[in-house]
Symmetry: D2
Subunit: 382 residues, 4 copies
């Protein structure tokens, strides 16, 4: 596959994710962490325009100078960004205009990709691919949030899978203590936060082969898990009380039975499916109630070759911190990861929202501990 | 004109106001006081369905029971309402679905209006007409807000007038003190807040024939009006400081020249046009700076036959309070006005956003003193 | 009595109000509207120093220049004020230092008052007396708040009266419609907001001779008054819901019986005493439930010679607005009243916290509609 | 020294810290993280009463049952606590009453300590000593905040040292990579968060022998460090912008010269003293500007025997997380540390506010990254 073909395939997938949407669904931003789908489509396009076409493609004409203002994200070096909470206030550019913007940039990109590319460009291109794939994951979970918080519970796609077919074998894996290598190694792509590969000392631990299921989590609810502060961090407990949390996100108790909103609509809870849409606080409290704990990201990385993963992003006990020797790239690209390395938790694995070829055993995702709109899950360690 | 014809004409006008919109413009709610256009279209339809078709039209089938939840406004007696700040989070029902809802209710209404109507129904119908006209006014000003707060400054309609053609004669009108009759009298429609007609004693006053112009207001700005607390109420001054107010809403200082956003796009300030989009605090401060004051709503009502009005809603010094003998209707209709009679200021007149036949000399509009998104204006008294 | 004697008598009374306090009680500010007692003692002193001694007393030495910063209130013209919410953060100046400041200024004042005073000074002096008396009222109600919101419910003074001995005769007074004179007239002191005396047209009304009692208000509670939105303004209802209001302030339901905190400690509700510590919203809702209304301030002023008053500040339906011809004095003194004339309600009468000689039939007090820490009450009109 | 003697010595030191205070200084709570000194005095007393006297001392009479409500901290298992933000609203119990409470409990404790104590009691006693010492540190820094945020800048004690006499030798220490033992080992007291002792793999690093000085930090300010987002975490940058941070806490630029508030009053910045009262965000930004980084807590623990420490709490790059095998004690005591292990940063060392005998190389302090009122400092690693 040529780079142009790969480019087009990735770009097309973003649009496929949006295919079931009504125009209106592209526009709203119900909470600060959820971006409007049309913003994702514009922002990923702006990334290629700003970091590849503008600096490297001779005679490239910027599509619309105002778009830099509208579609910039957190890249402080590239000018004023639209404050994140304002994204949902912008009815323009319209969805059609954004698709036209995509077409314009795609045409310019394909033409540019047919020229001889230097290594710097190639690197930026691969980063752009991965950047768009990250947004594809957010796109789907943001769409779920937009539809799942609408009182009409609209269906995204009747047959959209939120669990993987693969059956997990239950039981525990014992990992002996010792020095292990952690971090990305190889010639493929990795984010800067997966580097450098380095040594970590681990103590003996046993890790579950399976994720916690809905049925198991329901037992926690029935045992009063949400009413007993003993299982919770102090700030987790405040979060439970302030937000009146009594179940995972998207769960609804209707006439005594638990339902949850899925991309296929409002359905009864599937007992054997992995529990999802829980915060780190809930993952921790569940583990605490079981007398166990969550894995560190290092334990997870060492053990992961021994179990199936990729259905849920798995909360770890690790804070999101730089690896030894981490250094960020100069300029705007350097803002990618390093500046978020405080007050967030690492998640490992991948989820049903992750695009193909966008997961690996060293991948580090990260979110604030209260967030639940990703397909998050729980794996226990003892 | 039959009632059915009148009904259809009013209903059609709401849709005409929305004609220049993109689908996306119907959806967003940039601030709590501005509702998404699609909500206005649905809510006014829900009003006819809930208060006329459901109780009076035999065999009427409710279009969609969930819509009561989505399109209810402040009517506590008719079930849970969508909290106002949430309206902008709802991508569904879609714009198309809402137009279908309108068509369905319109058909049922036209059919129902061909039957014999009793007086109660007729009264509710006229209330429904006036209710929809009130929303038409909000619809246009909400649209202006949505477009005017977009960094792309989209044009609503190139030739949309925001000032009236009629030339006002300048000068002052002297009104002698004495007892005057205030409030609606006649056989046409009025809101309950215009009743009962009653006597008020006024002292001598002189009132300006014209509204304050942009050029005059600019003189206030140049004189440091926004920096001198002496002209302001204490809470007006807090509002200026907290919100960094330095000019009317929609004004932008670009390279030393003042522009303002209009429905025709971003244009240089028209010096002779009446200043607009100012809060009560600003109206008061301006009057204070001039050594004058705003009229009371009673002074305005007595004097209004002597000057042109209808271009700007005019802030008065009067608080929004019940007239002597005011009583509210039983049931949901009674929630219309009375429950807002605290902490708001009366505005008199009408504005360029007011539909035809929806203004009269006794009409009482009311807003909180900090609000600016209506076509508000200033008329002085000395 | 000489001016100096009058000065000392008023000054002494402020300190008498504080006599039962512990040092710690002088310091705290539990909510923004309640000032620390030591701040009242300092601020009233600063008033005499700033507006009389500094401009008029030759060779007067300012006690401490920093105190202008600490004890200034809302007087924007006299320099930066300590933001009201910060008052409770200041442990210094200490209570002792403030008493020393009072002694210093009192000595300077007494000496100055023995000289020949011009009319301007005399006017400012009388204003200073009235200013201190206003703060004496606040001082007592602020102290009640500080003690009454302490979980230990400390007693201020065992025998401190919160109701007046005078028995009110029940029944209604009928006042015929017509033109009445409103506002202060005479040669004594009045605040600028009581001027000018002017004509108001009133319609026929009947006003109760007595205030609503605790027993009557309890009937409102038992009838579900706090749970039925029909009796409330929209924003009153929001206030009830957001703040979980179920009774007047200081009421506590203990083992099924209602108690209230009084300056004499926590006591069972006295059924025949006038209900107090209710917001305007509650006063309005109570009247609404009774099918009656509150008087306007003009009705109150006209009728008041026919009933006993002075025990509770009585909420009126009137917004706090300038009288015809109102103009504020130039300079800092002019900031006294005019700048608060928006979004507040007028209260008439006086309360058990009002110092002797500080009440008259034309006196206009004013507070925001949600406030309850004053001795507020309800008188009905039908 | 007997346990009773040790008890009395520690108890006495808390009161010595408060000796320079006025009564008023004991009462206020300017921000949520700073507790009123009188609360510290009561809470530490309540600790001994609740966890030792009540369960173990036969016939002990609780001093005042209401005090459990007032002086409880975060111990959810021991009943309702006074919400932290409310502590500064409570004028009672008075300072005298709290000293009486201390005397009462001290007498009961001394009597109880003369009896035969079992191991459980001894352990709780030692915990109580260390708990009181932790509060002594907070007591001094809270007092500094209370006085240092008063516009009068009161002096705590003219000669109170905020820097240590010991001169640090400059230069760098090289530590070779390898497996190191981390955590407390021995028979003395340690907090549960210092356990278990375990192995950690460290890579080669060099650590500074000295803390960053005021002069060095001033160079960061002059180089525009507070205006360049590149040096900051994203949320650190938001913190700088929202709070208008331009220097360490307590620094004031007066007529072009930098002063800082110290316990001895407002003084010119001492260039050679270690910079203090900086947030983690500022520590990180400074390191980033130097092209270096902060140590992890493990690096610090390994290297600390090679440099002087104890003057400033030193921010580390480590998040506050449980050590391998960490388990919390059952009951209220178990709430001590574990429940805070999310979203906080570890600080190592000790500060000039730390009581004697209350520091050790394995001690883990922790605060949220934006907090600055402790004597925090910066040590660099490269």
């Amino acid at each position: 596959m040529t780079l142009a073909e790969e480019y087009l395939q990735i770009r097309k997938y973003s649009e496929q994710v949006c295919e079931p949407l009504q125009t209106e669904d592209y526009v709203v931003q119900p909470v600060v962490d959820v971006s409007p789908p049309k913003w994702h489509l514009g922002h990923t396009t702006w990334f290629f325009e700003t970091f590849i076409l503008k600096p490297f493609s001779v005679n490239y004409q910027v599509y619309n100078n105002d778009y830099n203002f509208v579609f910039n994200s957190y890249y402080e070096t590239v000018g004023n960004r639209v404050i994140r909470t304002d994204r949902g206030n912008l009815s323009r550019p319209s969805v059609n205009e954004i698709y036209q913007y995509r077409a314009y940039v795609d045409e310019a990109m394909v033409s540019f990709l047919s020229t001889t590319l230097n290594d710097e460009v190639k690197e930026l291109l691969i980063l752009g691919f991965n950047h768009e794939q990250q947004h594809q994951e957010l796109l789907l979970t943001d769409i779920k949030y937009i539809l799942g918080n609408n009182p009409l519970f609209p269906v995204y796609a009747k047959d959209k899978k939120e669990v993987l077919a693969s059956e997990n074998e239950s039981g525990w894996i014992d990992i002996p203590g010792g020095i292990y290598q952690i971090g990305y190694e190889g010639t493929g792509f990795s984010f800067d936060n997966e580097l450098n590969r380095h040594q970590v000392y681990l103590h003996d631990f046993s890790i579950s082969k399976t994720l916690v299921s809905n049925a198991e989590f329901l037992a926690f609810i029935h045992a009063g898990g949400y009413e007993n502060f003993n299982y919770w961090h102090a700030e987790g407990w405040d979060w439970v009380k302030s937000n009146h949390i009594i179940s995972p996100m998207y769960w609804h108790l209707i006439d005594g039975e638990w339902f949850n909103y899925t991309l296929g609509g409002l359905l009864p809870i599937a007992p054997n499916a992995a529990v999802s849409h829980i915060s780190y606080y809930e993952a921790y409290a569940y583990a605490s109630w079981k007398g166990m704990r969550l894995p560190t990201e290092f334990e997870w990385e060492v053990a992961a070759k021994n179990f199936n993963w990729g259905e849920r992003w798995e909360w770890t006990e690790s804070a999101y911190l730089p690896y030894p020797g981490f250094s960020k790239a100069p300029g705007a690209i350097g803002e990618y990861n390093g500046k978020f390395m405080v007050n967030q938790k690492v998640l490992r694995g991948a989820s049903v929202a992750t695009p193909q070829n966008h997961s690996r055993i060293t991948y580090r995702n990260f979110f604030h501990p209260h967030l639940r709109w990703q397909y998050t899950g729980i794996r226990l360690v003892k």
